[in-house]
Symmetry: C2
Subunit: 390 residues, 2 copies
């Protein structure tokens, strides 16, 4: 196994407090890092680096853990810029919403879906994202939900069955019939290609009782739970997530004090999606209240063609700092270690011995530039499993 020394790292963020300056980011200055195969083998000050087969000098720039985007809807067809423009102009839009994407996705060939997803995954890697989660939810019938997950599996092991995204119009007069399908034949077809089960538990989507039923079926089929919740108004999402020991509850714009207390005492992460709030001109969640209460926060893009056609984690970090008053350090942690926690992974989201060598080299002296230089091309390169990418 070849070992490579990455050296002259002006600022290395490890996310391991034991390794660095004592802060939760575990920063090492004038650092070096050894990649051995797919893993990080050593981290420390450059002057103490061990001998290696190869050596690369990164010129004093910053290195951070690869971003973990724990909430995307990456496999879809079509676009909804007309709906976006109408929404931004404050006009009433009577188009199809999610069903527009469902129709386009059902009609698309595997080849077209794969090519489009690949383009977006490439954008993500180029902007520093080394792990993505991908949900189904634009099929909403047995063959298409299964097809989306099969394609998603080609891009990531973190695939999520979201048959319970919305009730499709075919079942408008038979909600229970659709939920039966989701919990029965659809789940059976999808489970082999999914790690997670997700439900959109919110006003206009699925109720608490429906959500419980679907999550129970998913867990029985061997899937681990996660939830969309508390996006549109106060509701049971966060508490249900904790009740099921879900890895994450995502959106979290409307949370009561009780919700936050329950989350803080749990292993459930609150995943915030500021690019969706940006693109829908919605209020941002109160990240400070969550962090100050001790809740683990993750940032994710929510990449989808309706509410957040965004692939850039650096934009999410900039929005978290500008709009949600997270510090740059909290935002970076949420985009890396937070995302890893939201996927219950301890092999990613940190740059420490034993972790996967998923890393980002910034064309900047410090990670603060991720928020200080919004939309600038400061991601110089990513390593994924030790291989240079992007």
């Amino acid at each position: 196994m070849t070992s490579t020394l990455i050296t002259n790292i002006g600022e290395l963020v490890t996310n391991d407090p034991a390794l660095g300056d004592g802060s939760f980011l575990g920063i090492v200055h004038d650092a070096a890092l050894v990649i051995e195969g797919e893993q990080v083998a050593w981290v420390g000050v450059a002057s103490k680096a061990p001998p290696t087969d190869a050596r690369e000098d990164v010129g004093g720039r910053a290195v951070v853990p690869g971003f973990v985007d724990s909430h995307t809807h990456l496999v879809f067809a079509g676009e909804r810029s007309v709906e976006f423009a109408a929404r931004m102009a404050g006009e009433r839009y009577t188009g199809g919403g999610i069903m527009t994407t469902v129709a386009a996705t059902r009609a698309a060939s595997d080849t077209a879906l794969r090519a489009h997803s690949s383009r977006l995954a490439t954008e993500m890697l180029a902007s520093g994202t080394t792990t993505i989660e991908i949900k189904s939810g634009y099929g909403l019938n047995v063959p298409d939900e299964r097809r989306l997950l099969e394609i998603a599996r080609e891009f990531t092991p973190e695939t999520t069955f979201l048959g319970a995204h919305v009730v499709p119009p075919e079942y408008a007069s038979d909600r229970d019939g659709y939920i039966d399908l989701v919990c029965g034949e659809m789940l059976e077809a999808c489970a082999p290609f999914a790690r997670w089960i997700d439900v959109f538990c919110d006003t206009g989507a699925f109720t608490a009782e429906e959500t419980r039923r679907i999550l129970r079926a998913g867990v029985t089929a061997g899937l681990a739970p996660r939830l969309h919740g508390n996006q549109l108004e106060h509701g049971p999402g966060a508490r249900l997530a904790v009740e099921f020991d879900a890895a994450s509850v995502d959106h979290c714009t409307y949370l009561s004090d009780a919700d936050i207390e329950v989350l803080a005492a749990s292993d459930t992460v609150a995943t915030l999606l500021p690019a969706a709030d940006f693109s829908t001109r919605s209020p941002y969640p109160d990240a400070r209240r969550l962090i100050d209460a001790g809740v683990t926060v993750a940032l994710a893009t929510d990449c989808n063609p309706g509410s957040s056609f965004v692939t850039s984690m650096p934009l999410c970090i900039a929005l978290a700092v500008r709009e949600m008053r997270m510090t740059s350090a909290e935002a970076l942690y949420a985009a890396t270690a937070g995302g890893a926690a939201a996927l219950r992974r301890d092999d990613i989201g940190r740059a420490a011995p034993g972790a996967r060598a998923d890393l980002v080299l910034l064309d900047a002296p410090t990670f603060v530039h991720l928020a200080y230089r919004p939309a600038s091309p400061i991601v110089a390169r990513s390593w994924k499993g030790g291989n240079v990418r992007g």
Copy 2:
């Protein structure tokens, strides 16, 4: 002179209402465009294109005029991420502000300044900006102001003498002495390298009377006026700009009804800098009020290391749509034709016969994606004076 046909343009934005669909963007669908030397020679529907020497098919994607960034402070040294982080955390920051950059810039070699400016100009071109304005203002003494403008001139003919950026500490007890210098020896040294004269006319910067004196001296030296004004509070900036027939008054966050009436009746453009408002967590100007009153609006980055370390015009467009309620069409027009008006140029900011072939190819079916896909890499390529760049 070689002629090249760019064809299979799904959506061509010309900014010439006579050419297209009747809207102010002058959109032509299924379009083609002929580049001859440095200029656009022909525009129309692809099926009617004339014969040319060469031909390129852009696959149904959108083409828009190159962005005109009419307000930047591109030539500087150093960075101020610590100040940014403190400001975002709501902490009182007692560092040097602009003077930090002045000190770093004065200390930097020509070679270092040129390399740093070149990197930023390259970022801008890669994000679709084909014309930039560059201000001095980080020298604040005769040799350094002149040096910054000489370097700026290497990047653009649109150079602006901004000796009146702030009063440097050396002159803290002698404001009039500094203004004498700006209007005398400094102006004389700088005028050969500048097209424009600018003053930061705002609370804590220069007063109305000081601004008048400096602009008069600049005009006498053959420079054309433009102003920073109405950024921090209500003030005389916009009215002074009109009084001097300035090409533009920039920032415009605090405008009275009278200011807007005066602007609407003038040839002075209101240049809005939303990336600065983003990066300083400041209120955004009321673009709707300006546009609805008939004021010509431009968008620019204000690229500088203190308040807006941003090179991306697409980010400014996205912010204009999200935060200032401009339509995507208004925002694109402001970033192209608006910027051209703010520089009193009619050869740029449009894709029509006779204009410079400054164009942007988007990896998107429509310009709406500039706001719909914030921070995504949708600028496929720029042409500057007919040459492929970026």
